[in-house]
Every structure is written in structure tokens, then in C-alpha cells.
Symmetry: C2
Subunit: 117 residues, 2 copies
DNA sequence: ACAATAACTAACAAAATAGTGAGCTATAAA
DNA sequence: TTTATAGCTCACTATTTTGTTAGTTATTGT
């Protein structure tokens, strides 16, 4: 649980108010998140498919990240009718989709950085 | 100190190898970092100027972030000759500069997200 | 002598994030 | 009846990141 009045929280709030850049970074800046969004965009849009795509993630962590992304309206969770056991599909919202080109820029940046350029 | 063989570290490495996007996110995804880079780009390129720009940051944290950014070759530290006490100026490398347009995209994204669009 | 400034670092504590292992619901197939 | 699948959640520990407090070096101004 987050402490509402820790300096940590206060600073987070300060940065969010200072510039929306910090809001964006708090959304995409934690582990697995960008990879999950990318996986969904590539069709790995169900829990078990993501587990295959990201073999090192634990179910608990995957579940937490998906819940957070849902709260942030980056993804929407839809149950798939008439499936047994009941299936769930995750869909990117337009907000989520609009991150994809930014991910491409970051990826390109990271590649040239890796090469020491 | 980081533990080299924690699952945490192993997963970090896995993600870096998987896609350079994750490298980029590890660079810009921690607190204050984007704001520091932006401040330098705007001319707040000395320790005491950054403290003014970011009144809530502690000196220890600022120092740590600057050292990390230097190791990552995002910034370069230069002493200013003939200043007393000795001044230090931080300069963005081309790698650092090339983050600025990405920050703008993220900022724009964050703004529309804030508005609930 | 003492305070002030610039630019830190060290030792530590607090908070937050990431990961572990078990368990749950429901159905159906072997 | 046990096992399997899908999609989780709970209580917990480990690890990492953030923040706190005090102190350092060197020089000038009072």
C-alpha cells in the first residue's frame, strides 16, 4: 500500500503537477509494462498467451500490471462469451494504442545507445 | 548495492536483451531523471541551479541521478576553470539531446491522458 | 574566527516495487 | 477421482529505490 503523506508520494504528486511528462513516465516506466502493452498489440491478448510471451514474469506480477493498466485506461478487459473455462481478452484503448509509436522511438533510441553511438 | 543474481536483476537483463525499448525505459523511467535532463536542456546546468529548479529533490538524490546519467553517457560533467569555489557544468551529449523530442511526445500523451481523453 | 557558497559523499532509514508459493473457481476430459 | 486449463488472488519476503541527516573541501567576505 502507498503511504499518502510520505515524501515519496508528495514528490510524485509534485512532478505530476509540474509536467505531464512525469505522468507518462509513471505509466510506462515500471517493469514489464511496455512489454505487456506491446504483446497485446501483437495479438498476445490473453493471460496465458502473455505468460508464454514473457516466460519470466510471475502470474501475480502479470495480474498486478494488468489491473493497473486497466485502472489507467490503457487496456480494457473483456470476457469472451461461451468459453469454458471463461476466457478473458485484453484490448488496447486508443490511449494505449497511442503509446506504440512512442515505444518505437524509444526502441530506436535504445538501439543506438546500446551500440555506444 | 544491486544483487547480481536476484530474480529482479535477471529479469532486468532478460528485458534488456529482449528489446532495447526496455533499456531506454530503464534510463528515463526513474524519478526526477527526465526533469533533470529537461532542466539541463533549458540552461539549469549547474548543481545549485537544479536545486532551485527542483526544490523538493535532496542533494543526495540529485547527486546520485547525475552520476548515473554520466555513466550512461547522457550527460558530461565539466569543471568551469577559474571559478571559486570550483564550479561544475553539466552538458547533454547527443544521446541526451536525442531524448528531448521523445519527452515532448510523452508530455503530449500525458496531457491528453490527464484530460481523460 | 566564522559564516557563506558550490558541489558533493557517507551511513543510514523509509517506502515502494518485484517476486514466491500456495490456493481458489469452474468445467471437462481421462 | 485425479488432472488439466484459464485466470486469477492472498499473504508474504526480498530487493531496490528514495529520502534524511550530517559532514567534507576549498576559498572568499565580514
Amino acid at each position: 500500500m502507498r503511504k499518502k503523506n510520505s515524501t515519496n508520494s508528495i514528490n510524485e504528486k509534485y512532478l505530476h503537477e509540474r509536467c505531464a511528462l512525469n505522468v507518462a513516465i509513471d505509466v510506462i516506466g515500471s517493469r514489464w509494462v511496455s512489454q505487456i502493452i506491446f504483446s497485446i498489440s501483437q495479438g498476445a491478448n490473453r493471460f496465458h498467451l502473455m505468460k508464454e510471451e514473457l516466460p519470466n514474469i510471475s502470474e501475480q506480477v502479470l495480474s498486478r500490471k494488468l489491473n493497473t493498466l486497466e485502472k489507467q485506461k490503457i487496456i480494457i478487459k473483456k470476457t469472451i462469451p461461451d468459453t469454458i473455462p471463461l476466457g478473458v481478452r485484453y484490448i488496447l484503448t486508443s490511449k494505449g494504442e497511442s503509446l506504440l509509436p512512442i515505444f518505437e522511438s524509444l526502441c530506436a533510441w535504445g538501439k543506438s545507445y546500446d551500440l555506444g553511438a
